[in-house]
Symmetry: C2
Subunit: 134 residues, 2 copies
Protein backbone atom coordinates (compact mmCIF):
# COMPACT_ATOMS: atom_id res chain seq x y z
CA UNK A 1 0.00 0.00 0.00
CA UNK A 2 1.05 3.60 -0.47
CA UNK A 3 1.59 6.19 2.23
CA UNK A 4 -1.90 7.67 2.04
CA UNK A 5 -3.58 4.35 2.69
CA UNK A 6 -1.24 3.58 5.57
CA UNK A 7 -1.99 6.99 7.00
CA UNK A 8 -5.74 6.46 6.75
CA UNK A 9 -5.63 2.94 8.14
CA UNK A 10 -3.76 4.01 11.26
CA UNK A 11 -5.18 7.50 11.54
CA UNK A 12 -2.12 9.68 11.18
CA UNK A 13 -0.94 12.27 8.70
CA UNK A 14 1.35 11.21 5.85
CA UNK A 15 3.81 13.82 7.05
CA UNK A 16 3.95 12.13 10.42
CA UNK A 17 4.80 8.82 8.78
CA UNK A 18 7.70 10.37 6.89
CA UNK A 19 8.74 12.08 10.11
CA UNK A 20 8.82 8.75 11.98
CA UNK A 21 10.90 7.29 9.18
CA UNK A 22 13.42 10.11 9.43
CA UNK A 23 13.54 9.62 13.20
CA UNK A 24 14.27 5.94 12.77
CA UNK A 25 11.03 4.74 14.35
CA UNK A 26 9.62 3.28 11.16
CA UNK A 27 11.92 1.28 8.84
CA UNK A 28 12.34 2.79 5.36
CA UNK A 29 9.98 0.93 3.03
CA UNK A 30 10.62 -0.24 -0.51
CA UNK A 31 10.05 2.26 -3.27
CA UNK A 32 8.20 2.03 -6.56
CA UNK A 33 10.00 3.09 -9.73
CA UNK A 34 8.49 6.52 -9.35
CA UNK A 35 9.87 6.85 -5.84
CA UNK A 36 6.58 6.23 -4.01
CA UNK A 37 6.90 4.38 -0.72
CA UNK A 38 5.32 0.91 -0.59
CA UNK A 39 4.24 -0.36 2.81
CA UNK A 40 3.33 -3.83 4.05
CA UNK A 41 1.14 -5.16 6.85
CA UNK A 42 4.17 -5.15 9.11
CA UNK A 43 4.48 -1.41 8.67
CA UNK A 44 0.87 -1.04 9.68
CA UNK A 45 1.54 -2.92 12.89
CA UNK A 46 4.70 -1.03 13.58
CA UNK A 47 3.02 2.33 13.05
CA UNK A 48 0.03 1.30 15.14
CA UNK A 49 2.42 0.33 17.93
CA UNK A 50 4.00 3.74 17.80
CA UNK A 51 0.62 5.43 17.91
CA UNK A 52 -0.53 3.39 20.89
CA UNK A 53 2.62 4.40 22.71
CA UNK A 54 2.08 8.03 21.77
CA UNK A 55 -1.49 7.90 23.07
CA UNK A 56 0.09 6.89 26.39
CA UNK A 57 2.38 9.88 25.94
CA UNK A 58 5.53 7.85 25.73
CA UNK A 59 8.24 9.93 24.12
CA UNK A 60 9.76 8.96 20.80
CA UNK A 61 12.95 8.09 22.70
CA UNK A 62 11.01 5.75 24.98
CA UNK A 63 9.33 4.15 21.97
CA UNK A 64 12.72 3.68 20.42
CA UNK A 65 13.84 1.91 23.57
CA UNK A 66 10.80 -0.37 23.51
CA UNK A 67 11.52 -1.24 19.91
CA UNK A 68 15.04 -2.24 20.85
CA UNK A 69 13.60 -4.56 23.50
CA UNK A 70 11.28 -6.08 20.91
CA UNK A 71 14.34 -7.01 18.92
CA UNK A 72 15.79 -9.00 21.82
CA UNK A 73 12.91 -11.20 23.03
CA UNK A 74 14.99 -13.42 25.30
CA UNK A 75 16.10 -10.78 27.72
CA UNK A 76 14.19 -10.33 30.96
CA UNK A 77 11.48 -7.72 30.63
CA UNK A 78 12.33 -5.84 33.77
CA UNK A 79 13.66 -2.87 31.82
CA UNK A 80 10.29 -2.50 30.11
CA UNK A 81 8.48 -2.46 33.40
CA UNK A 82 10.95 0.04 34.78
CA UNK A 83 10.40 2.27 31.78
CA UNK A 84 6.68 2.14 32.40
CA UNK A 85 7.07 2.72 36.13
CA UNK A 86 9.19 5.79 35.45
CA UNK A 87 6.62 7.05 33.01
CA UNK A 88 3.80 6.53 35.49
CA UNK A 89 5.78 8.41 38.12
CA UNK A 90 6.23 11.25 35.68
CA UNK A 91 2.53 11.42 34.86
CA UNK A 92 1.66 11.39 38.56
CA UNK A 93 4.03 14.22 39.29
CA UNK A 94 2.51 16.21 36.44
CA UNK A 95 -0.94 15.65 37.92
CA UNK A 96 0.21 16.79 41.35
CA UNK A 97 1.82 19.90 39.90
CA UNK A 98 -1.31 20.77 37.96
CA UNK A 99 -3.47 20.29 41.02
CA UNK A 100 -1.35 22.75 42.97
CA UNK A 101 -1.58 25.12 40.04
CA UNK A 102 -5.35 24.76 39.86
CA UNK A 103 -5.68 25.66 43.53
CA UNK A 104 -3.60 28.79 43.08
CA UNK A 105 -5.60 29.84 40.08
CA UNK A 106 -8.95 29.21 41.73
CA UNK A 107 -7.90 31.15 44.79
CA UNK A 108 -6.72 34.04 42.66
CA UNK A 109 -9.91 33.98 40.66
CA UNK A 110 -12.03 33.95 43.81
CA UNK A 111 -10.51 37.26 44.86
CA UNK A 112 -12.39 39.20 42.21
CA UNK A 113 -15.89 39.39 40.86
CA UNK A 114 -16.82 40.58 37.39
CA UNK A 115 -17.91 44.10 38.21
CA UNK A 116 -14.80 46.08 39.02
CA UNK A 117 -12.65 48.43 37.08
CA UNK A 118 -9.44 46.91 35.86
CA UNK A 119 -7.64 49.38 38.11
CA UNK A 120 -9.30 47.71 41.10
CA UNK A 121 -9.21 44.14 39.83
CA UNK A 122 -7.92 41.89 42.58
CA UNK A 123 -6.76 39.30 40.11
CA UNK A 124 -4.36 41.73 38.54
CA UNK A 125 -3.39 42.92 41.99
CA UNK A 126 -2.68 39.36 43.05
CA UNK A 127 -0.44 38.87 40.07
CA UNK A 128 1.40 42.08 40.87
CA UNK A 129 2.05 41.30 44.52
CA UNK A 130 5.26 39.95 45.86
CA UNK A 131 3.34 37.74 48.25
CA UNK A 132 2.77 35.19 45.55
CA UNK A 133 5.01 32.24 46.23
CA UNK A 134 6.80 30.34 43.56
Amino acid sequence: MRIGQLARSVGVDTQTIRFYEREGLLPPPERQDNGYRIYTERHVERLAFIRRCRILELSLAEIHELQRYQGAPHQPCRAINTLLDDHIAQVRSQITDLQVLEKQLVSLRASCNDDRDIGACRVLEGLSEESMQQ
Copy 2:
Protein backbone atom coordinates in the same frame (compact mmCIF):
# COMPACT_ATOMS: atom_id res chain seq x y z
CA MET B 1 20.91 48.27 37.17
CA ARG B 2 22.34 46.03 34.47
CA ILE B 3 20.84 42.89 33.07
CA GLY B 4 22.73 40.51 35.36
CA GLN B 5 21.44 42.16 38.49
CA LEU B 6 17.89 42.25 37.16
CA ALA B 7 18.20 38.58 36.32
CA ARG B 8 19.44 37.68 39.79
CA SER B 9 16.87 39.82 41.56
CA VAL B 10 13.96 38.18 39.78
CA GLY B 11 15.51 34.76 39.35
CA VAL B 12 15.64 34.35 35.59
CA ASP B 13 18.38 33.98 33.03
CA THR B 14 19.67 37.06 31.25
CA GLN B 15 18.82 35.34 27.97
CA THR B 16 15.23 35.08 29.07
CA ILE B 17 15.12 38.82 29.75
CA ARG B 18 16.37 39.60 26.27
CA PHE B 19 13.91 37.09 24.92
CA TYR B 20 11.00 38.82 26.67
CA GLU B 21 12.19 42.12 25.25
CA ARG B 22 12.22 40.71 21.74
CA GLU B 23 8.74 39.30 22.30
CA GLY B 24 7.46 42.69 23.40
CA LEU B 25 6.71 41.65 26.98
CA LEU B 26 9.37 43.82 28.53
CA PRO B 27 9.87 47.39 27.25
CA PRO B 28 13.31 48.07 25.75
CA PRO B 29 15.39 49.80 28.43
CA GLU B 30 17.80 52.68 28.02
CA ARG B 31 21.31 51.84 27.00
CA GLN B 32 24.67 52.99 28.33
CA ASP B 33 27.20 54.39 25.89
CA ASN B 34 28.71 50.93 25.59
CA GLY B 35 25.36 49.42 24.65
CA TYR B 36 24.63 47.79 28.01
CA ARG B 37 20.98 47.74 29.02
CA ILE B 38 20.04 49.84 32.07
CA TYR B 39 16.98 48.76 34.03
CA THR B 40 14.87 50.54 36.62
CA GLU B 41 12.67 49.42 39.50
CA ARG B 42 9.73 49.42 37.12
CA HIS B 43 11.42 46.81 34.99
CA VAL B 44 11.89 44.66 38.06
CA GLU B 45 8.18 44.83 38.75
CA ARG B 46 7.27 44.19 35.17
CA LEU B 47 9.54 41.17 34.94
CA ALA B 48 8.34 39.82 38.28
CA PHE B 49 4.76 40.14 37.01
CA ILE B 50 5.66 38.09 33.96
CA ARG B 51 7.31 35.45 36.08
CA ARG B 52 4.33 35.17 38.42
CA CYS B 53 2.10 34.67 35.42
CA ARG B 54 4.46 32.05 34.01
CA ILE B 55 4.46 30.19 37.33
CA LEU B 56 0.70 29.96 36.85
CA GLU B 57 1.47 28.67 33.34
CA LEU B 58 -0.16 31.56 31.58
CA SER B 59 1.13 31.73 28.04
CA LEU B 60 3.14 34.69 26.79
CA ALA B 61 0.12 35.64 24.68
CA GLU B 62 -2.11 35.65 27.76
CA ILE B 63 0.43 37.74 29.63
CA HIS B 64 0.49 40.14 26.74
CA GLU B 65 -3.28 40.42 27.00
CA LEU B 66 -3.09 41.09 30.74
CA GLN B 67 -0.53 43.82 30.10
CA ARG B 68 -2.89 45.47 27.65
CA TYR B 69 -5.58 45.46 30.32
CA GLN B 70 -3.17 47.05 32.78
CA GLY B 71 -2.80 49.91 30.35
CA ALA B 72 -6.54 50.59 30.39
CA PRO B 73 -7.48 50.68 34.10
CA HIS B 74 -10.97 52.09 33.63
CA GLN B 75 -12.44 49.23 31.69
CA PRO B 76 -14.45 46.57 33.52
CA CYS B 77 -12.27 43.68 34.54
CA ARG B 78 -14.54 40.97 33.25
CA ALA B 79 -12.13 40.09 30.44
CA ILE B 80 -9.41 39.37 32.98
CA ASN B 81 -11.65 37.06 34.92
CA THR B 82 -12.70 35.34 31.73
CA LEU B 83 -9.09 34.83 30.77
CA LEU B 84 -8.46 33.24 34.14
CA ASP B 85 -11.58 31.10 33.95
CA ASP B 86 -10.52 29.80 30.57
CA HIS B 87 -7.09 29.03 31.88
CA ILE B 88 -8.52 27.20 34.88
CA ALA B 89 -10.75 25.17 32.57
CA GLN B 90 -7.71 24.28 30.52
CA VAL B 91 -5.72 23.15 33.55
CA ARG B 92 -8.66 21.06 34.74
CA SER B 93 -8.99 19.35 31.43
CA GLN B 94 -5.29 18.60 31.43
CA ILE B 95 -5.65 17.03 34.87
CA THR B 96 -8.56 14.88 33.73
CA ASP B 97 -6.66 13.75 30.66
CA LEU B 98 -3.64 12.83 32.72
CA GLN B 99 -5.76 10.90 35.19
CA VAL B 100 -7.21 8.83 32.39
CA LEU B 101 -3.72 8.29 31.09
CA GLU B 102 -2.46 7.23 34.49
CA LYS B 103 -5.20 4.61 34.79
CA GLN B 104 -4.32 3.16 31.40
CA LEU B 105 -0.66 3.03 32.27
CA VAL B 106 -1.23 1.46 35.67
CA SER B 107 -3.50 -1.16 34.19
CA LEU B 108 -0.95 -1.96 31.50
CA ARG B 109 1.80 -2.16 34.07
CA ALA B 110 -0.25 -4.45 36.28
CA SER B 111 -0.42 -6.99 33.48
CA CYS B 112 3.22 -7.96 33.83
CA ASN B 113 5.61 -8.78 36.60
CA ASP B 114 9.36 -8.39 36.38
CA ASP B 115 10.34 -11.98 35.74
CA ARG B 116 9.36 -12.75 32.18
CA ASP B 117 11.21 -12.86 28.94
CA ILE B 118 10.64 -9.85 26.77
CA GLY B 119 8.99 -12.20 24.28
CA ALA B 120 6.34 -12.96 26.89
CA CYS B 121 6.08 -9.51 28.39
CA ARG B 122 2.44 -8.58 28.71
CA VAL B 123 3.21 -4.88 28.68
CA LEU B 124 4.70 -5.13 25.23
CA GLU B 125 1.83 -7.37 24.21
CA GLY B 126 -0.65 -4.82 25.47
CA LEU B 127 0.99 -2.13 23.41
CA SER B 128 0.90 -4.36 20.35
CA GLU B 129 -2.77 -5.26 20.61
CA GLU B 130 -5.50 -3.63 18.63
CA SER B 131 -7.77 -3.78 21.64
CA MET B 132 -6.21 -0.65 23.07
CA GLN B 133 -8.60 2.19 22.60
CA GLN B 134 -7.56 5.65 21.71
